[in-house]
Structures are given as structure tokens and as C-alpha cells.
Symmetry: C2
Subunit: 362 residues, 2 copies
DNA sequence: TGTTGACATTCAAACGTTTGAATATTAGAA
DNA sequence: TTCTAATATTCAAACGTTTGAATGTCAACA
């Protein structure tokens, strides 16, 4: 009845319905400072009418006028990956006490989608962007556009300070060392290692850390027990990669008492591979993961892993984004920062001392 | 330089920069029909200038003027739950060929957040809303507002046709029957059942299906082997619930050769509980899950489960949402519809024939 | 010469808000 | 009585687009 053609209730509808001007209604409903001057009776009248009609302010009109969207764009490379979720949670948690809202997008590991969502984030005038990408994320030309439009951008999951982008990522080297040290301390000497895919940012430093710790412990890593995941991209593939590597390991005829896997899903793949030939984890062979995602916790045995403080990393990203906005308000451009989060060894059931009889591994 | 105070490049910037009017620029950049009449040289000039300045149209202004947001709100009860993700994927897949964009929100199983995000979806003038909620989702008063503003709403994960809301959900009864039938066919007779939490929509019909199949197979379910998950809410708790039930089962002294768990995470909890007393799955005891989420696939043994066609359910929801929009365009209000998706038995490694010697279970 | 119509471009209003400035009303003070 | 000040409300412009209608130019036709 009082509806506009658009189907949505507007200030004008309310104004007409209770005989005040649009301005007054706006002042009351948006709780502008001037609303103190509005008669209490008027306020009440307007508010009840708004409730009655089911009024909700039009975010488009409001943002247009106020020149603020109160939005932070969050672009995840793949929500399917359990790695992303805790980061998103951290971002949500960080944003919650402010009145910024996350605009969450899932690129599904597709460059095309990544670009089109980034464009959308720009069009929606997000005031900042947080990109979750442990994964390849080369120069999109949109990146330049983001800069031209003065939108602060933070990346979590890899170091892009070289491109002058604030970055939050885990200290992979330290993590790799922790993992190797844990196995050494348990008494393992023949340790198979599954390295991450070539093109993944985390792979190299993690491997460096592993080697350092091995050297420090006086252990030689048999190059024939070093494997590498293929350059694939979706989370499930790293499970299959682990499974495949385990088979190769077993086929190689070399003996080993532990496997240091690139991440948790790889570790789960290894567990599967070992179990298929009747080997038990950890009695016959220890398996270590990295990340600490849900599947590592709920599988049996629970996977010993290097935990990334994902939620905290999300929080950190938000903190910087907000600070950048604040500074921008004052006309200052913030220099890109970087934060190396410290990982943590989580000992669970997939690691133990090596089996007594070495012959057990053929 | 040519920047407005807002920091964003606008049509006016481009117009000034190349000496045409805002209208012409708009017509060219938005590829309006009139742009055929614009001189090719002009078009080129405007386009390159836009690219150079990094122009992106302001979605707020555009939507305001066009009276279309090209957006579908998607409100998930908890992205942490692996159950949600494939549904979201389905929704994305369904939306992709259209030019609607999903506006994805994660309520984190908190009523307050649920409400505030729903409000946000309304304010952003989403043209339709899809709610993912297997979980409690009682009358929000916002629901009434959604109706007042003529926004079509679809729920996936439970049946709310009684409240005149289109619903997509799995045929829980059929699924429950499938699970039980599978165990019976393998030869199990003493089967423990873990029912879902009281307040969860899926719980009752699933249990009905289980009992029906048992009756048909001439099997009596020992009430002392029936357990129930507590009314909790986060996905991890169902793992713990399963673990706890397994302990109770074992403590009860009753013998059983299979456990039919409410969902996959519960099943994984049961596996853990059994393994803690040295029982192996499936050699000593079979375990069945429900849903088919990632952790069920990557754990060892892989969990035999009843698969919900989650992605398809998401697709279905989108299809209806779009149809409702189409109809609304013509002024027709669509009647709420409902779709019971048919589940599917996925046989993996956690189920097998019961062990020969019954004494094995004490 | 005037009319027609195709082509190229611009005008101006509108979308739903917000907000600085303006107006109107009342009460109290000078 | 007029002036000031507080209270209560409205005007009107602006945010960045889009778009129906208007304008202007030019060539071709009658």
C-alpha cells in the first residue's frame, strides 16, 4: 500500500505515514546528534511506525551519502580448505567489536573468480581488503587498481612485503625445525620428508627449517627419502599426494621410522598409505603434520602437528587494516608491515619413539 | 590529482579528463544500448582513460539508481562445520552463470550474529536470501521484515514449509533406513545407535528411518544400546559426543558389533573411543556415519556413510531463489516449495561383516 | 527551402539517504 | 515591546550513477 515500486520501505514511506518530513525521520532513525532536539513524542511515533512497516535503511543510499561503506573485503582462496576457516574466524572476531562488516568471498582457487571477486570488492567500496592466500597469487592488474583507489590491503598466508603489501604469515622455518627436532628427540634417525609443492610459498622455508634441525641433531636426511607434492591446488589433492608418496616410500625399499609431512592432509594420506600395507601409526612409524586443521584432530590416531596460530593471524590482519584506515583518515600512508607468527608443536598420538627392531621396516 | 575527496575515481573524473559529459562516459562504460551511437573514437578515448585512472563503478550509486543489487544473501549457521561448505559451493556454482553475486555471512551459531547479519543482508538490499541452518532457527522477528520487504527466502537443511518458507533438506528417514539396512545386510544384529540432539531437526526423522528398517529386517534395537547426543551446537562437540557415547557403550557391558552414529563427526568420535580400548574398526566393530564430510573421507579407516547431496541442495536453493525473483518481476508471489533430496549410501572401510566370535565384545 | 532522420552528445531528474543551513515556534530576559 | 536562546522541524543540496528526453549537427530527400 504505502510501498514504493521498489518493494522496499523508505524514509519517505514513514514520513508520509506519520506526517513528518523525511529529514526528521532520518534524524530520528539514524540517531543523529540533532535527534536530541526532536520531541520525545515525535521520536516515539516515528520509531513505532518504522518498526511497523519493517523499515531497514538502504545501505546503498546511506553509504553513498556518508562516503563510508563500513566494509572490509575478505577474499579467501578456497573455503573448502580447512586452513582458511580459522583465519576467517579470526577476521570476524577482530571486526566484531568495530562496526565494520566483512564482505566474504571464496575464490575457489580460480584465478578468474579471484579477479572478479576482487573487482566486486572494489566496486562495493570496501574500505580495506584482506586476502587469504597461501597459494599463488601473482600480480593481478587489479592490485594496481587497489592502490590507485587508496584501499589498504593485507595478505595473510604469505610474505608479499617485497611488493609493498603488508603480510601476516607463519614462521615456516621455525615450524619445520620444530617438527624435525621433535622426531629427533623421540629417537628417530631415518626420517622421510614430504616437501610442499614447488610453487607454494610455504614450501621452501619449511624445508630449510627441517634441514637445519636435522643438521643440528647430527642427522643426515636420505635424499631418496625426500618426496615432493605435485603443484596442485585443492586441499583434497594433498591427501592424495600423501597417499601416493607413502606408496613410493614403501616401494623404495628404504627403511624409515617416521614421516614428516608437509601438512595435515598430507599426513593423513600417509597414514592411509601405511595402513594399507598393515603398518600402524605410531607403533611402526610416526607421522607428523603441519597446520593443525580439524581433520587432524578428529582422526584416529590424532595427528601430531605444528600448529599455525591461524585465528591470531586473522586478528593481526584486521588490526593492521583498521590502523591503516585510521591513518588514511589523517592523510598518512602507512608503510607495509609484516608479521611472522610463531608456530607451536602439538603432540598428539601419531608420534612416538621408533620401534625397537629396525628390521620391522624391511 | 584528479581524485575526489573520497579517494575513489568517479565518472566525473573521467569526464573532465577527456572532455566529455558524465552521461557520455556512463553510457560508454556501462555499455548501455545508446553506446552504439557514440563515436568509436570517443568510446576508445573514454575506455583507455578509465583504465588509466583505475576506475571502478560505485556499486552503491549504481544499485541505487538501477534499483537492483544483483545480490543474493547467503547466511550460514557455521562455516566451521564441514557440512556447510559444500552447500555454499553449490550456491556459488548456481549463481555463477547468472550475474548475481553471493553475499556470504557466517553466523557462528550465535543468535545475535544471525540477526545482525540478516539485518545487514536486508540493508544491502539482497534480492533474495538463502539460509543454511540444519540447526535451530526459530522465529526471528526479522523474518517478518523479510516478508514485508518482499524478499524471497529459501532455507536449506530443514523443513520450514509450515512457516511458508521454501525448504530444501535431505530425506532423513530414507537415509536412516539405508544406514540400518546396510548394517543388517552385512549380518549385524546387535547394533548400537547414537541419535542426534533433541532440538535438531534431522534427529527425529532419521531415527524413525532407522527403526523402520530394523523392524523390516526383523531386528530388535536394544534400548540400552541407544544413546543421544546432547543439545550442543558446534561441530566439534559431536565428535566429543561420539567419543563419550562409545565409552558409555563399552561400560554398559552389552555386546554390539556395529554403531550407527548420527553424523560423521560422531562416527569419528566413536572410532576414537573404540580404539582407546584396543578395538579395531571395522574388524571388531563397524561404524557408520551420516553426511559425508571431508574428515570422514580422509581418516583411516575411511568412514562408510550416508551421503547428503549437499552441493545439489545448494543448487536447488539457488534455482528457486532465481525463479522467485523472476516471478516477482511479473508481480506474482510464488508459493513456498519443498524438496527432499535423496541420500546415498557410500560404502567405505569402516563397515564390514561382524566378527565371528561374539565373545570378542565381552 | 524545409523536412526527415540518422548520428553524436548532453540535460536534468531520479534512486534513498544525510546534514549544514534555514525556518518556525515558544519562553524568558531586557 | 524587542531581543536572545532554546527547542522543534524542514529545506535543499549532495553522494555517483543511469536514462528518457532534449539538443545539436549533418546529409539526403522532396
Amino acid at each position: 500500500m504505502a510501498q514504493q515500486k521498489s518493494g522496499h520501505v523508505t524514509l519517505l514511506d514513514i514520513a508520509r505515514a506519520c506526517g513528518f518530513s523525511v529529514s526528521t525521520v532520518s534524524i530520528v532513525l539514524s540517531e543523529a546528534p540533532l535527534s536530541q532536539n526532536v520531541a520525545a513524542s515525535t521520536r516515539e511515533q516515528i520509531r513505532t511506525m518504522a518498526r511497523q512497516l519493517g523499515y531497514h535503511p538502504d545501505a546503498f543510499a546511506r553509504s553513498l551519502r556518508r562516503r563510508h561503506s563500513q566494509t572490509i573485503g575478505v577474499l579467501a582462496y578456497d573455503l573448502t580448505d580447512p586452513y582458511c576457516i580459522p583465519i576467517v574466524r579470526g577476521i570476524q572476531a577482530g571486526l566484531h567489536p568495530t562496526n565494520y562488516l566483512p564482505l566474504l568471498m571464496d575464490a575457489q582457487i580460480q584465478r578468474r573468480l579471484f579477479d572478479s571477486y576482487l573487482k566486486m570488492i572494489l566496486e562495493r567500496r570496501a574500505e580495506g581488503v584482506i586476502v587469504i592466500a597461501s597459494w599463488i597469487f601473482e600480480e593481478t592488474n587489479l592490485l594496481a587498481d587497489i592502490e590507485k583507489n587508496h584501499v589498504p590491503i593485507i595478505i595473510v598466508g604469505r610474505d608479499l612485503t617485497s611488493r609493498r603489501i603488508s603480510s601476516v604469515f607463519v614462521d615456516n622455518e621455525a615450524g619445520g625445525s620444530m617438527a624435525m627436532r621433535h622426531l629427533c628427540e623421540l629417537g628417530h634417525r631415518r626420517i622421510a620428508v614430504i616437501r610442499g609443492p614447488e610453487e607454494l610459498f610455504d614450501s621452501k622455508p619449511r624445508w630449510t627449517g627441517v634441514r637445519k634441525a636435522a643438521t643440528e641433531a647430527g642427522i643426515r636426511i636420505d635424499p631418496r627419502l625426500v618426496f615432493q607434492l605435485p603443484n596442485s591446488v585443492d586441499p583434497f589433492s594433498s591427501f592424495e599426494g600423501g597417499l601416493h608418496c607413502a606408496k613410493q616410500m614403501l616401494a623404495s625399499g628404504r627403511s624409515f621410522t617416521a614421516v614428516l609431512a608437509f601438512d595435515d592432509l598430507t599426513a593423513l594420506g600417509v597414514v592411509r598409505g601405511l595402513s594399507e600395507v598393515g603398518l600402524r601409526v605410531p607403533e611402526d612409524c610416526s607421522v607428523l603434520g603441519f597446520d593443525d586443521v580439524l581433520p587432524a584432530t578428529v582422526s584416529t590416531p590424532a595427528i601430531t602437528t605444528i600448529r599455525q596460530p591461524l585465528k591470531e593471524m586473522g586478528l593481526q590482519a584486521v588490526e593492521w587494516a583498521l590502523k591503516a584506515l585510521e591513518k588514511r583518515e589523517q592523510g598518512v600512508d602507512l608503510n607495509p608491515q609484516s608479521h611472522k607468527a610463531v608456530p607451536e608443536l602439538v603432540v598428539r598420538k601419531s608420534s612416538s619413539r621408533p620401534p625397537e627392531r629396525k628390521s620391522q621396516m624391511r
